[in-house]
């Protein structure tokens, strides 16, 4: 044995409960990094073996086969073979099998066992298999496979002690890996062997509960299915507005209270202005959108955890095919509604490189959570909160429209890309649709907490920094008392904005917007903070300063300008993190630069068309 802690890897088919087992074995202390040179995530953690020794546990990407069909599967294969750059040769391999799905999952297990490496099988989700009417004989499976088989229920932490003891026992064994010879015949043999062993292991099988199939009769119905999908998405976007009202009120109240408190304690001067106008005004105007972002993430997490997301991909596949994509692109694109970064990273499961590139390039067109603050403030200020019937609000309807606008834009762009820069044969769509599962409250809360934390950290760092820089540039140089110019016009930022204004004036943007667009390059939400800071500084007196951002927007923007501003943000690529992740995922500057250029061009055209159409309609 080497001095270093032994390396144990978790491998198995997707949907075998591998991540749940990983979480149960390592707890919350996990490290997520990337394998060098490839964009595949390496998730590692530590766990204690039965004798108290620490071991490093790595969760490998889910694989159906050692014969790789995607970048993810290629990493799984080379780690298991001990050939992955930047990874030690594993000392033991835990293969996770879904107990209810043996004939399919055993195939991968047999492939790995055939390599002659130290393997332990975790026969996972035993409880669900029993509920499905299956009675299994783990001892029989162990005898057939010739490696230890430990029944586990990862989510209830059952069987974990036995598992780590079995792993420990195998660590002392030394083996040399054999080579894999890939062929149709080999695949054929593996499948037959898997089926045979599965049949031997299953002691009895009754009909069990079929509720998952019954649910699919509805959710995958050719007519009802798409209607339900549309309804779910519509409810989701209505909820973002309706459920967030109260918590937004609390946050607004808290930030007002903070501003009043600062005003009362600090003497007039730089620090007081900085805290009230820059820090509280700027960051507060962004944090206020936390409730809406969390509601959106709640829906996406629930859809993913329940297994509905793959059904949505199934329903959408035919439509995606008409623009040259597949249902596989639907999941990354739907995740992009929360944030384009996880969405772009989720494209790694798309096997076809042209499909994947197209999906990455259109992902920023999906309305991410960072656009919500921008949309929300403009819609709140300019669209009346009217009921258009059936309990549907006009504001929610406009928001829904903006989402649709982004989707339609993405589809058109994908179609163009697939016949130009990402030209290639139409790839297929092959996907497993796992059984429905009741989402676990703990996982959902953990997911929400992680999202909230990321957002608050952004608000505390990027957004705070951008707001502070803007505030300083707006405050200095100070306008002389006798000058007829306003402070904003006289300031450094105002002068820069005045240069940009002629460029954006044809699409209906005023100087304040030009000003907000610069710091918003860092992140879209900054636009709101920037507008708040600008108007706070520009306020001629105390009374004007007390007016809300909404009231100020209403008095200084026309409706066509507001609509053009919304259209701009449907397309504008204003997010440094997205550009950075695109560079990483496409291995170079070519595609992120292409993305920047085409999105800015679209944003400009869309805002222009919106502005002049609104003017022509007399809005």
């Amino acid at each position: 044995m080497s001095e270093a802690a032994p390396l144990i890897v978790l491998a198995g088919n997707p949907n075998a409960g591998k991540s749940a087992l990983f979480n149960a074995l390592t707890g919350a202390r996990q490290k997520i990094a990337n394998y060098p040179g490839v964009t595949v995530e390496r998730k590692s953690g530590h766990f204690q073996m039965a004798d108290g020794r620490p071991a490093e546990l790595v969760d490998l990407p889910g694989s159906y086969s050692l014969e790789p069909t995607s970048p993810d599967e290629a990493v799984t294969r080379s780690v298991i073979m001990g050939e992955q750059q930047g990874e030690r040769k594993p000392d033991a391999i835990i293969i996770v099998l879904d107990a209810a799905n043996l004939d399919n999952h055993l195939r991968f297990a047999l492939e790995v066992i055939a390599l002659g490496r130290p393997v332990v099988i975790a026969l996972n989700m035993m409880d669900l298999a029993e509920r499905d009417g299956l009675t299994l004989d783990p001892a029989k499976l162990e005898a057939e496979l010739g490696v230890p088989v430990i029944p586990t229920v990862a989510v209830r932490r059952r069987g974990l002690d036995h598992l780590s003891a079995a792993v420990e026992a195998r660590l002392t064994e030394k083996t040399d890996p054999l080579d894999i010879v890939v062929s149709k015949e080999r695949d054929h043999g593996l499948r037959k062997q898997a089926k045979k062993i599965a049949n031997l292991t299953v002691v009895s099988e009754t009909a069990g509960r079929r509720w998952s199939e019954r649910a699919d009769a509805m959710f995958l119905h050719p007519v009802a299915g798409p209607v339900i999908l549309l309804a779910i998405m519509f409810v989701m976007f209505q909820a973002v507005f309706a459920w967030s009202e109260a918590p937004i009120g609390w946050i607004e109240g808290a930030s007002e209270w903070a501003a009043v408190a600062v005003e009362a304690t600090l003497p007039e001067g730089f620090l007081r202005d900085f805290l009230i106008e820059g820090a509280i005004g700027g960051v507060g105007s962004v944090v206020v959108f936390l409730p809406q972002i969390l509601i959106l993430f709640l829906f996406i997490l629930l859809l993913e955890a329940s297994g509905y997301m793959t059904r949505a991909a199934f329903i959408m596949d035919r439509l995606m095919a008409s623009v040259g994509l597949s249902g596989r692109s639907f999941i990354p694109l739907l995740s992009s509604f929360a944030c384009a970064i996880p969405g772009i990273m989720a494209t790694r499961s798309i096997a076809d490189p042209k499909d994947r590139l197209t999906t990455i390039l259109v992902a920023p067109l999906m309305t991410c959570a960072a656009r919500l603050p921008v949309y929300a403030i403009i819609i709140g200020a300019f669209i009346p909160a009217r009921d258009v019937g059936l309990g549907v609000g006009l504001q929610g309807l406009v928001l829904f429209g903006l989402y649709i606008f982004g989707i339609v834009g993405a589809m058109l762009v994908a179609m163009v890309l697939r016949s130009t820069v990402a030209k290639g044969p139409n790839s297929g769509f092959l996907m497993e649709m796992p059984k429905y599962q009741m989402p676990r409250l703990r996982d959902i809360l953990l997911g929400l907490w992680q999202r909230a934390w990321i957002f608050l950290r952004r608000a505390g760092t990027i957004i705070f920094a951008a707001t502070v820089v803007l505030w300083l540039m707006l405050t200095y140089p100070k306008v002389p008392i006798d000058s007829p110019m306003s402070q904003v016009d006289y300031s450094a930022a105002g002068r820069i904005a005045n240069v940009i204004e002629p460029v954006v004036a044809p699409i209906g943007f005023n100087r304040d917007i030009a000003l907000a667009l610069i710091p918003a390059m860092a992140a879209r939400e900054v636009a709101v903070a920037a507008l708040a800071t600008t108007y706070a500084i520009d306020a001629p007196d105390e009374e004007a300063e007390a007016k809300s951002l909404t009231e100020r927007l209403q008095s200084s923007w026309s409706l066509p300008t507001a609509l053009a501003f919304l259209a701009w943000f449907v397309f504008a690529p204003q997010c440094l993190s997205t550009i950075a992740v695109t560079k990483r995922e496409t291995n170079g500057w070519k595609w992120p630069m292409f993305m920047l250029a085409y999105l800015f061009a679209l944003a400009y055209v869309a805002a222009g068309i919106t502005y002049w159409t609104a003017i022509a309609l007399g809005l």
Binding site: R191, K192, K195, D216, P222, D317, A321, G428, L430
Partner: protein
């Protein structure tokens, strides 16, 4: 005992809820990678499948198959390369 009467069709033309056994797959009509993926998801000669669902109205594409205890989505273009026999 009668000799089993079988009827051969391609998977895309199989009727709903119909069980059938895959008799042949035209591997040459797809890429190496697609073929490997098909086999990895359990679709191979000799496997019993059941057609459970089809896509959006007007298209009936893709289709959802029950393979073992798994449900797999396949496009019609692949399904048409898979021949099945319906046991009598």
């Amino acid at each position: 005992m009668n000799a089993p009467v079988t009827l051969a069709v391609t998977l895309d033309r199989l009727s709903m809820r119909q069980r059938a056994e895959i008799s042949a797959i035209d591997w040459d009509s797809m890429s190496e990678n697609e073929g490997a993926r098909l086999r990895a998801l359990g679709l191979d000669e000799g496997v019993e499948v059941e057609k459970l669902h089809k896509g959006m109205f007007g298209f009936s594409d893709p289709i959802a198959l029950k393979v073992g205890r798994m449900m797999i989505a396949v496009r019609k273009s692949h399904a048409s390369a898979i021949s099945v026999v319906i046991p009598a």
